[in-house]
């Protein structure tokens, strides 16, 4: 029998909510408004701005009014139900067991009106489960007290709240909350020489280069002056001639100069970011600290590390080094690791032997002893075909255009370049396919992808949120499929997935990944909670 829906009127937001929702809308449009003010031309004022502003004001006000008037919520025994929306009407059920944090927001305006904005968070790091803009302090306190009482009941082992054990597992507590300081040996320490290698390996200097160009342009020394200087030098070497050799030498020296500057900047960034990087702890807790100007770092329980990414690209291999990133719930913002806070690396740069020892010590995993399950035999061919198709899409228009405009000698050179590109694509994709694979262990799913830009991902199976088995049209014609999982952490570049598996392998892998014994135990707990609740109501 389905649970009865709330039949009462429910609670409304505070009567000043309209004002706060409108303010939030205006705030989110602030960049646009500022751009309109500063970029608008005052000499062309013809009334359209007034009409535009009026329409925007009406739309925003209407939205805020509809949002506020349509918003209702019901506080039930173990969940909060929210009804909102006018065109798209939404009825949202949020079990208390899933709420891991209640965030208050009270700025000066909130204090003046004696109201609070409440965010009910689950900790996925993306958005809150519900935002209540705004409530009176008494209402907010009541709501918070009810949710806390529910969780305290779970902590006391009260039968009716057993499902709230999920609270402990949601892993959605803020990054440093509840993590005890790690005490233990230094597990990894980065040497200064390795930071220079890291700067040479990874491209961290572009931001600094951009800032430098801005600085140079401000001081009157522009890029043109630099390149003119190169031109003059080369001209001097060649005795004033401006033949093809002049252009070739100038271009080569300019490219070399840019590469050197970028790498130097990259070294500076690596040193500033990772100077004296230290990882300490034991098999339970970890702590990192690094930085030249500001010491940054974080601490976390090992069991909360949801994803580990070992970077092992060709430049890393050339320098006989690897880099190990970690992703924890709460610090998983979009973008790359430089944008994340808290613990981001187990080591920014270390030898392969040290990385293997580190992984073995922390996660009890021997990377070098793993037996990788390969991709489908025809995976390389599929990958090469795809790369060649996109290569052709880029090269064909260039070659067609060039055949009408360039001389035969230059055209032959261009054809040679295109041919080399296609040969490289074919070779590299086959190499990538052979180097890729996966291993499924009881606690981890380990994925190795690529050869030239190789990464090894250690996915903690406990942290998997959803699993997906997918196939494109070409997959189906070649009996292949791919598997991907979603975690509470990661970024676009670190989504755990593997493609081009044989269909049967992919299906087996998908079924193995979707089964999570720990979670089934929790479902059982939830079922017992329902049965207990039914028994209590039957007894009453």
């Amino acid at each position: 029998m389905a649970r009865d829906l709330p039949t009462s009127e429910g609670s409304r937001l505070h009567r000043f909510s309209f004002f706060f929702v409108l303010l939030a809308q205006l705030w989110s449009l602030a960049p646009l408004l500022l751009a309109a003010i500063f970029l608008g031309r005052s000499d062309r004022y013809d009334g359209w701005e007034m009409i535009g502003t009026g329409v925007a004001a009406i739309v925003l006000s209407a939205y805020s009014l509809i949002y506020t008037l349509s918003f209702r919520f019901w506080l039930l025994d173990d969940e909060i139900v929210i009804k909102k929306g006018f065109f798209d009407r939404t009825l949202r059920h949020i079990p208390f067991a899933r709420i891991s944090n209640i965030a208050h927001k009270q700025n000066l305006l909130h204090r003046i009106f004696r109201v609070v904005e409440l965010n009910l968070e689950s900790g996925s790091g993306l958005q809150s489960e519900a935002k209540l803009t705004v409530l009176t302090k008494a209402e907010a306190a009541n709501l918070e007290q009810k949710i806390r009482a529910y969780h305290l009941g779970a902590a006391d082992g009260t039968a009716s709240n057993e499902g709230a054990t999920d609270f402990a597992y949601t892993e959605s507590i803020p990054q440093n909350f509840g993590d005890v300081p790690a005490e233990g040996a230094t597990l990894s320490q980065t040497q200064f020489g390795d930071l220079i290698r890291l700067g040479l390996i990874s491209n961290r200097g572009m931001l600094l280069i951009g800032a430098s160009f801005y600085f140079l342009s401000q001081t009157g020394l522009s890029r043109n002056n630099v390149f003119k200087g190169i031109g003059n030098t080369v001209e001097g070497w060649l005795g004033g001639t401006h033949g093809p050799l002049f252009w070739l030498l100038s271009a080569l020296i300019s490219i070399a100069l840019i590469l050197i500057v970028v790498r130097l900047a990259s070294i500076v960034v690596a040193i500033v970011q990772f100077y004296d990087f230290k990882l300490s702890g034991n098999a339970v807790n970890l702590r990192t600290e690094s930085g030249l100007l500001t010491r940054r770092g974080g601490q976390a329980r090992v069991e909360r590390v949801a994803l580990v990414v070992i970077n092992n690209g060709w430049l890393y291999r050339l320098f006989l080094r690897q880099s190990v990133q970690v992703f924890l719930p709460g610090n998983a913002l979009q973008g790359d690791s430089m944008e994340r806070s808290g613990m981001t690396h187990l080591t920014p740069v270390a030898t392969q032997a040290n990385v293997n020892a580190l992984i073995e010590r922390i996660f009890d995993l021997q990377i070098s002893a793993l037996r990788w399950h390969p991709l489908a035999p025809k995976a390389g061919r599929r990958m090469a075909k795809k790369a060649l198709f996109f290569g052709a899409v880029i090269w064909l228009p260039i070659l067609i255009f060039a055949s009408f405009t360039l001389s035969n000698e230059l055209l032959a050179g261009l054809y040679a370049c295109a041919l080399l590109t296609f040969m490289w694509l074919y070779y590299s994709r086959h190499k990538d396919a052979r180097a890729s694979g996966y291993v499924l262990l009881p606690d981890f799913w380990i994925i190795k992808t690529g050869y030239f830009s190789q990464t090894i991902q250690l996915v903690r199976r406990d942290a998997i949120q959803t699993a997906s088995l997918g196939s494109s049209h070409f997959d189906r014609t070649t009996a292949m499929a791919g598997v991907r999982v979603d975690l509470m952490v990661g970024s676009m570049s670190a989504t755990p997935k593997i493609s081009y598996l044989e269909h049967n392998d992919a299906t087996q892998l998908f079924h193995a990944l979707r089964i999570d014994t720990k979670k089934i135990d929790q479902s059982e707990t939830a079922r017992r909670r329902i049965e207990n609740a039914s028994a209590v109501s039957a007894g009453a």
């Binding site: 029998m1 009825l91 899933r98 489960e129 699993a467 088995l469 979603d486």
Partner: protein, 152 residues
């Protein structure tokens, strides 16, 4: 590797979703098609416009029908299954314990047809919303309860 290689029997959604999707696809495709048609009329190729709109509507109908035939869901002991996609086909599984909250949404067309959409949200980063459109309101609530194990 442990194998549990079996998929459940998927339940189809309400057949009227075919028309909802057809209306949505054809509406959004009509906007660029109208712009293109105006350009064609101006350039003197007015006769291409009817062909363009025929392609838009037939294509939308074909795609909506295929999407309806492919979409399926199942609620099992361990969690929720969704099957979807035409060119890129996927089967997705959401473990029961991973459900953070659920939404039952009624859009304007849904309300006209007395349909609802159940959206199951997880704490994931990229596949955090899983939706089942084309349900009756009672069915959407029953599924929600079934998923959260609130029914006996």
């Amino acid at each position: 590797m442990t194998t549990h290689a079996s998929f459940p029997e998927f339940t189809m959604i309400d057949s009227r979703m075919r028309w909802v999707w057809f209306a949505q696809y054809s509406f959004w495709l009509s906007i660029p098609a109208t712009g293109l048609s105006i350009a064609l009329v101006v350039l003197g190729f007015w006769w291409i416009s009817p062909i363009l709109f025929a392609i838009v509507y037939l294509g939308s109908y074909f795609y909506a029908t295929k999407a309806y035939a492919r979409f399926g869901y199942a609620i099992a002991e361990a969690g929720l299954w969704i099957r979807h996609g035409i060119i890129w086909q996927a089967i997705r599984f959401v473990p029961r314990a991973r459900v953070q909250h659920t939404d039952v949404i009624h859009g304007p067309i849904d309300r006209k047809l007395e349909l609802a959409q159940l959206v199951v949200n997880t704490a994931g980063m990229q596949l955090q919303h899983v939706s089942i459109p084309g349900l009756t309101e009672a069915k959407a609530h029953a599924l929600r309860d079934q998923l959260l194990m609130l029914s006996s």
